[in-house]
Amino acid sequence: MTVMEQRGTYRPAPPPAWQPRTDPAPLLPDAEPYRVLGTEAAAKADPELLRRLYAELVKGRRYNAQATALTKQGRLAVYPSSTGQEACEVAAALALEERDWLFPSYRDTLAVVARGVDPVEALTLLRGDWHTGYDPYEHRVAPLSTPLATQLPHAVGLAHAARLKGDDVVALAMVGDGGTSEGDFHEALNFAAVWQAPVVFLVQNNGFAISVPLAKQTAAPSLAHKAVGYGMPGRLVDGNDAAAVHEVLSDAVRHARAGGGPTLIEAVTYRVEAHTNADDATRYRGDAEVETWKQHDPIALLERELTGRGLLDEAGAETARRDAETMAADLRAHMNEDPALDPMDLFADVYAEPTPQLLEQREQLRAELAAEAEQEGVQG
């Protein structure tokens, strides 16, 4: 057919393969973070749940304070406190069923403990006697992840595997605002959406990645707006409103459990303390900002709701505080014991069977330690 013959046959049509496969509208987050406390939605919240959240928040804050104190005493190598973010931590743990899995980042010790992990074992990494102190399979909690965002694909893979096996398991993966910039965040969300894996991604946007404020991290309208680019719903929630975070997370977990696929949740919160005990936050932010956020404290918000509705009185609050003190005293006592250390453990779990090379090295260390002991014996 020559050019001329084609004349008049021209009927424009869209490119054949083009059909939007997902309606983007329901995937977009609301303009305002979702809130429950102090709104009409609060009336519908389960009082028992609110009381439970409250007790856990109080305990969580006390845990953070205790761990920070232990750092000052040299009992921990480092501690990244989640003070101010307790609502996210606690809600993340409580939104899951026992059979579900939690994938925490290094800041999420509270979530790990709220999920049932022994408070001392949860601190092994940060104390420095081993990398992961708890058995991940006991409470279905992955190791605290230090390399940012790397835990997200793990959560996707685990959730996918469970689904392939026909198990009813949802994985909840936690990451910070800074972590959303990593390639692994992107790849994990994409895999999750393509596989429709039962995963919930919880971004705690606490305003900072160490010293770097959100404005240098992203130009997006919100981090929740990233979801539509993967074809999953994005939700924005007030991260200091424990009831709201719990509700949004629970919805997402239910959605995933029902085969609806992943959800990305951005919880807007604030890191009240420095990045870790080793950080000096005065170098990059003013007191005023911190003070403003303290006015929006997650414990205070919930307390007001509970007291306003007569669900908590001074005695109840006192009980919560006392329970928290008991936990802290217990933690202190345990952490003040020196952990049992055996240098030979270095070689124990590099492989299922140590290689011949590692066996040689183990013998070398054993000989060195024997010589050291002898030396000390001679001197002592």
Partner: protein
């Protein structure tokens, strides 16, 4: 070992068969990667697996290597045995953080509670006329990462046996497949795939008395040729195929070198900081007083892998190997 009548098979066929047998034997074995499903992989190693076992067992993933390895980690955490294909050696680099910071460390981090039975198949090396980024040899990176096993076959039979062993291993194995040997043929009975080789044993491919060529993967056939050619020069060379770089079989290697008194390490990966340094150093540590000459190394040059038209100058060939053998201070003999 009872072997029946055998017919020639390619290394590619043996690998496919190993995957198929492993998947048939154990429902927790899952194959995943770019183009491994419908297409059967760009080298066709996973050919037919999606059809036979379904797309859930042999899965075309999105195009993201960190995502592939990272999700495989999660799958292994849940008790599956993922077998990941990296399309080419250089395209495994995006997964490097997952490999080093998680795959290699997870068992150790968790005091053995969370082992990762993962196999990472990586077609490696050059000699196939590939344009840039398609012919890297990255075994040095994996060797320097404790917690990984690093295995590479040089024969059709080993391709089968070692891949089965890798998949059966409770530890992560980087399984390096010499691209240019994919189409190499050997007498092998695919109907009776016989032995699953244990990981960690080197093998003497050719016995000899004059000197030992220590090698692995794509360089094994080259060393065999060199050994043949060396006869004309009056040298009777022994060829040791390492098969496993981690763990390293000091026993077999050192027994050979002690016998011959001379050794050349041969690989196509770059020489500087490459596997040969480790091998030469540990052989020397263990066999110093048996050595008539320093252990020499024949390796790729220390430069980015060359374009196809120049690669033959880069790859260690028979002449370069014989040249090194010639420098093993034979004067001392006479």
């Amino acid at each position: 070992m009872t072997t029946v009548a055998v017919k020639p098979a390619t290394m590619a066929q043996a690998l496919t068969r190993a995957l198929r047998d492993a998947m048939a034997a154990d429902p927790s074995v899952h194959v995943m990667g770019e183009d491994v499903g419908t297409l059967g992989g760009v080298f066709r190693i996973t050919d037919g697996l999606a059809k036979e076992f379904g797309e859930d067992r042999c899965t075309d993933t999105p195009l993201a290597e960190a995502g592939i390895l990272g999700t495989a980690v999660g799958m292994a955490m849940y008790g599956l045995r993922p077998v990941v294909e990296m399309q080419f050696d250089a395209f495994a680099y995006p997964a490097f953080e997952q490999l080093v910071s998680h795959v290699a460390k997870m068992r150790n981090r968790t005091r053995g509670k969370m082992p990762l039975p993962l196999t990472i198949r990586v077609p490696y090396g050059g000699g196939i006329g590939g344009v840039e980024h398609h012919s890297d040899s990255s075994e040095a990176y994996y060797m320097a990462t404790p917690g990984l096993h690093v295995v590479t076959p040089a024969t059709v039979a080993d391709a089968y046996g070692l891949l089965r062993a890798a998949i059966a291993s409770d530890d992560p194995v980087v399984f390096l497949e010499p691209k240019r040997l994919y189409w190499s043929k050997d007498a092998w009975n695919p109907e009776e795939p016989a032995t699953v080789e244990p990981i960690g044993r080197a093998v003497v491919r050719r016995s000899g008395r004059s000197a030992t060529l220590i090698t692995y993967g794509p360089s094994v056939p080259v060393c065999m040729q060199a050994a043949e050619a060396a006869r004309a020069e009056g040298w009777d060379l022994e060829v040791v195929d390492l098969r496993s770089l981690v763990p390293f079989d000091d026993g077999t290697v050192c027994a050979s070198v002690r016998r011959t008194g001379r050794a050349v390490v041969v690989h196509e990966s770059g020489g500087f900081g490459g596997p040969g340094g480790e091998i030469a150093a540990r052989v020397t540590e263990r066999c110093f007083h048996h050595l008539e000459a320093p252990v020499l190394r024949v390796a790729g040059f220390d430069l980015p892998y060359p374009p196809p038209m120049l690669e033959r100058h880069h790859l260690p060939g028979v002449d370069r190997i014989l040249d090194a053998v010639g420098r093993l201070q034979w004067e001392a003999e006479s």
